[in-house]
């Protein structure tokens, strides 16, 4: 405590920090970026390893052999799907019953807040079919789930067929200690959400769904299977779930271990693993893989059916079969064996997966970066905000106390200083609330008056409010105190800096990628803002432009670069998807951006027009 109580040393330290503030901030920013990029460099990462004893040491022999039968089943399923014009519920019920499962159905319906143009749906009505294989060896208190979405068109028939074939095979085995639920869900994520809400007796997203008549125990783990062709060349593992949540790393380890054992090519983010980490290409490849993961995690949506399970404390991952016309081919039997092996290992679990990491980034399937390694990158960026705040505090001297209290107690009309800060804060947040509420609620009015569809109306309203927020009367302080003083904007900046630091810190804890991306774009501009700064720079580094950049970078990384106009269309669809994800599944990215990040940014915008 010497540093905190000895006035001479304190003075020396604060003197150093204020004198060298700008250089320290620049060094911190660069160090943060370099640290983050260094995470993909293989010597700085750790090799993945199986932490869970119950899955590590036990031997499993895979005997599943009816891959061919599964493929013929897929054709039969396809025929019935065409005939029913959707999910062939009766056929599926019969097929599952004939394989000795307890079969139940659940019907659900959901009216979307506005039409989803990507998937062309508005009023969604569907049925989930699921069969439960009761565990013969243990009390039925725990369960595993294998799910295959029944998508429209020609896709995913093989996955449903393989599910049925596996069910038939599993039924004849005696070693199951957990119930196994085979779920075929309609309308992908909406179906999964309805089923999960029904299973757990919750209703958080206004679904109208029938209650479930059959249940198994508490679900320990779930695997989602997506296959679209008879022969596939590689399997892709998808981990990113709702709000950037990830399953326990052991699940990824398990998948990787079985791919190695059965000799199946496996990828993550659609990228194969390379062994030449010491070359430039090798590093770039790893960095691209990691960047893709960061971008996908940051957008906070569920990238497969597994993503919704994570919220219910169920470890889940999606396995996606990819046919990229390589020479190396894997047949359905091998994939069946892979799943059999994974499910058998999960069956051995004595408790929920908890041994391994929950916070990680994967530069490749066999390498990972844990929270202890990537958090410093964010910490270096966040500390800039605190340093700037300290600098301002020292410069402001005494009057700044009122502002700090103003954050916690938003209604303190005790001095005019507080009022000048309070007004922009309140106005910014009201704009944020408008951005959050109005797009969905005003769509009908917008459609009446303008020649646009509902979806366009929602997105364009959002953009309009966002832009209108910039044009609001931001010089309220002149009305209040006559003249915008230098003290005034410094107090406002101090408040906004601390607010942003807390906000980004909380975001990064829940969803590191989102926090980091926001910090990369927001920190330099917010740290350096003065009334003399150019407005263009500020706009170019605003949250909306951050999303736009992310869209382009993402397209670049998945090797499908787009032109500016296509990028713009993608940007619009990303916004509509974000709003839909919030309404349908409870994704928090849209409210976070609208209610907190954007108002916080507006507070800085306010400083720009102080004089």
């Amino acid at each position: 405590m010497g540093l905190l109580s000895d006035p001479n040393r304190r003075k020396a330290l604060t003197g150093l920090l204020t004198r060298l503030n700008t250089p320290i901030c620049i060094v911190c920013y660069l160090a943060g970026i370099v640290w983050f990029m260094g995470l993909a460099f293989e010597p700085f990462t750790l090799r993945t390893y199986m932490s869970e004893n119950a899955m590590g040491s036990t031997m499993v022999e895979e005997r599943f052999s009816s891959g061919e039968r599964a493929l013929s089943l897929a054709k039969e399923f396809d025929a019935h799907k065409r005939k029913a014009g959707g999910m062939p519920v009766e056929w599926l019920v019969k097929a599952m019953q004939s394989r000795g499962l307890e079969v139940f159905t659940q019907s659900f319906s959901r009216k979307l807040p506005f039409p989803d143009e990507n998937k062309e749906r508005y009023m969604v009505r569907g049925t989930n079919v699921y069969g439960i294989l009761r565990a013969p060896r243990a009390p039925r208190t725990e369960a595993l789930v294998i799910t295959a979405p029944c998508s429209p068109g020609n896709t995913n028939n093989q996955a449903v067929a393989l599910l049925l074939a596996l069910a038939q095979y599993f039924r004849n085995q005696i070693y199951w200690a957990k119930d196994i639920i085979f779920l075929v869900n309609e309308h992908d994520l909406i179906g999964t959400q309805a089923w999960l809400e029904g299973y757990h007796h919750t209703n958080i997203t206004e679904y109208i769904s029938g209650s479930l008549r059959g249940r198994a125990g508490s679900i320990q783990a779930a695997l989602s299977l997506e296959l679209s062709s008879d022969v596939i060349t590689s399997l892709d593992l998808v981990l990113e779930g709702l709000n950037g949540q990830l399953p326990n790393l052991d699940l990824a380890n398990l998948f990787y271990a079985f791919c190695q054992k059965l000799g199946v090519l496996c990828t993550i983010q659609g990228k194969l693993q390379r062994n030449d980490w010491d070359t430039a290409e090798g590093y770039t490849h790893a960095a691209q893989t990691m960047m893709l993961m960061v971008l996908k995690q940051a957008c906070g949506r569920s990238w497969g059916d597994h993503g919704l399970f994570l919220r219910y404390h169920i470890e889940a991952a999606s396995v996606r079969g990819i046919n990229s016309f390589r020479h190396y081919k894997t047949d359905a039997t091998t994939i069946g064996r892979l799943l059999e092996g994974m499910v058998r290992k999960l069956n051995n679990l004595l408790e929920r997966l908890h041994q391994s990491y929950f916070f990680y980034l994967l530069p490749s399937l066999s390498r990972f970066v844990s929270i202890g390694y990537y958090m410093p990158a964010f910490g270096l960026l966040a500390v800039i905000l605190l340093l700037r705040a300290l600098d301002l505090w020292v410069h402001l001297g005494a009057p700044a106390l009122a502002a700090v209290d103003g954050v916690t107690e938003a209604e303190q009309p005790s001095s005019p200083g507080v009022l000048t800060v309070l007004t922009p804060v309140v106005i910014s947040h009201l704009t944020g609330v408008a951005l959050y509420l109005l797009p969905v609620h005003l769509q009908e009015m917008a459609v009446e008056h303008f020649p646009v569809s509902e979806t366009e109306a929602v997105v364009l309203t959002a953009i309009a409010i966002y832009t209108a927020g910039l044009a609001l009367p931001h010089n309220t302080q002149r009305l209040l105190s006559g003249e915008g003083t230098e003290q005034g904007w410094k107090v406002l900046k101090l408040t906004a800096l601390l607010y942003l630091a807390v906000l980004l810190g909380c975001t990064a804890l829940i969803n590191f990628s989102l926090g980091f991306i926001l910090a990369v774009t927001l920190v330099p501009i917010t740290a350096s803002i003065t009334p003399a700064l150019y407005a263009v720079v500020m706009v170019l580094l605003s949250p909306a432009f951050t999303i736009l950049y992310c869209v382009f970078i993402y397209q670049e990384l998945i090797e499908a670069p787009v032109s500016v106009s296509e990028g713009w269309m993608l940007f619009l669809s990303v916004i509509s998807q974000g709003i839909l994800d919030h309404a349908l599944y409870g994704s928090l990215v849209y409210p976070l951006l609208a209610l907190f990040i954007y108002p916080c940014w507006l507070m800085f915008w306010n400083i720009l027009f102080w004089n």
Partner: protein, 457 residues
């Protein structure tokens, strides 16, 4: 003009007259803002009570503890109505007075909770009268210290600021919306302070007994209250003087007497001594390890069973131990001692909630004259703000997402308590330093003429 007149009078006239003029001034000039403040505070609470957040807030571990959760009060009431002892089972831990109070007003519970914090701010109005003496004694201090003394004008706003700090503090609002009975305990302590400052030894003793009966820890406020009365009656703290012993015994008798009467009454109300282990045993032995913002739960969840008794003694002694050195150091300043004691109680008690934190934070405006001597206020504000935001985030990660664990949450608990301790020790230091300057002059010189700095070691 009124301010000017009063300024003059405070120097010229005697203390009694100033006090009267002061009260008159308060009554006329403060009524409007205070009413406005009350309306705002009540509106916020009423809106939150009706919103869907009320349920969410009342489940938060930061806001309610096993001792004061409304859910448990309801359970206790149900048991009482069924003719079962409310203390059977391990849910209800309120005192018998509390349950009988709610037995009669359960339908008006919301109103009770809204009104109780308002009681607290009554105390604020009378803090000023005490401070008046600095202004009167100004001629005794060196000339350059005059800027350290508060002008009467500043002091008029203290009651308003104290009320605002308590009523609009988010911690208080949360605690009130959650219907935590913590608000009632705070009201009792506030009334006790009020009676003490008004100089009524009898009421003060009775209310202190009531506060002690509610949650034991206010026991340590006995020392500052006694010191205050001794100072007020011009009795020197001298162990060889019979007048000192006479008054001490008198006050102790009031206190112990009313404690015995209250406990006896509880026994007759309930017909059994069940409440002793269930309330006080529960507070002392900490059997409920639900996470909260305190320091106990994590330690005792990790502890080997055979060390438990020892460490419980070590942890509990923290609350009581600091009374002795602080009473010796601050025997001239009992009101500041009360503040220190309340802060220490809220940091080291076994089931702290944010409502307890709010109580001592309400005192901070009363010490606004110490502001220039505070050293770490920026750091402390940042820490407390960040922790308040991180509590729900880490709770979410631990309990709902399942990806973090208890260590994350406890880390924030530790940081929060670190911030509180830093805050309290900073105010303590600032107070001592101000006293030093008052006697030695503001601009200290070393013997060789250079500017000296004060170091706390």
């Amino acid at each position: 003009k009124t301010v000017c007149d009063l300024n003059l009078s405070s120097v010229l006239m005697n203390s009694n007259l100033v006090h009267r003029a002061d009260s008159f001034f308060l009554a006329t000039k403060m009524a409007a803002p205070l009413t406005l403040l009350l309306i705002v505070a009540v509106t916020i609470r009423a809106v939150l009570f009706r919103s869907s957040w009320a349920e969410l807030i009342s489940e938060r571990v930061e806001v309610v503890s096993p001792l004061n959760a409304w859910k448990r009060v309801v359970e206790g009431l149900a048991l009482l109505d069924l003719g079962v002892s409310p203390y059977s089972g391990d849910v209800f831990h309120e005192t018998p007075f509390m349950i009988y109070l709610f037995h009669f007003v359960v339908d008006y519970a919301e109103i009770v909770f809204m009104v109780s914090p308002d009681l607290v701010f009554c105390l604020s109005r009378f803090l000023t009268s005490l401070k008046q003496k600095y202004a009167l004694e100004s001629d005794r201090y060196p000339a350059d210290c005059l800027e350290l003394l508060r002008s009467p004008k500043e002091m008029f706003y203290i009651p308003l600021k104290v009320a605002m700090f308590y009523l609009l503090n988010p911690f208080t609002i949360l605690s009130c919306v959650a219907k935590s009975t913590c608000g009632l305990n705070n009201a009792i302590i506030a009334l006790f302070i009020l009676c003490t400052l008004k100089g009524s030894a009898l009421l003060s003793g009775i209310l202190l007994a009531l506060a002690t009966y509610q949650s034991i820890y206010p026991l340590t406020l006995f020392a500052p209250a006694l010191l205050f009365f001794l100072q007020r009656l011009y009795i020197p703290v001298n162990l060889r003087r019979s007048s000192f012993w006479f008054f001490t015994l008198q006050y102790a008798f009031i206190y112990v007497g009313s404690l015995v009467v209250i406990t006896g009454l509880s026994f007759f109300l309930l017909g059994s001594w069940d409440f002793i282990p269930s309330v006080y045993g529960f507070i002392f032995s900490v059997p409920d390890l639900t996470p909260n913002i305190g320091l106990f739960w994590y330690f005792f969840a990790e502890m080997f069973e055979h060390f438990r008794l020892f460490f419980i003694c070590v942890f509990q002694i923290n609350v009581f131990f600091y009374t002795i050195p602080l009473s010796i150091k601050l025997k001239e300043h009992p009101v500041f001692l009360i503040f220190m004691q309340i802060a220490i109680i809220s940091i080291f008690k076994s089931y702290p909630t944010v409502g307890d934190v709010a109580l001592y934070m309400a005192f901070l405006p009363a010490w606004s004259h110490l502001y220039r001597f505070l050293r770490n206020i920026f750091l402390v504000s940042c820490v407390l703000l960040a922790c308040s935001a991180l509590f729900p985030v880490l709770w979410h990660l631990w309990i709902y997402a399942g990806s973090a664990n208890s260590n994350f949450y406890y880390a924030i608990t530790l940081l929060f308590n670190f911030g509180q301790i830093l805050l309290v020790s900073d105010y303590f230091y600032a107070y001592l330093r101000r006293e030093h300057h008052l006697t030695h002059g503001l601009y200290l010189k070393k013997k060789d003429g250079t500017e000296a700095t004060l170091v706390l070691k």
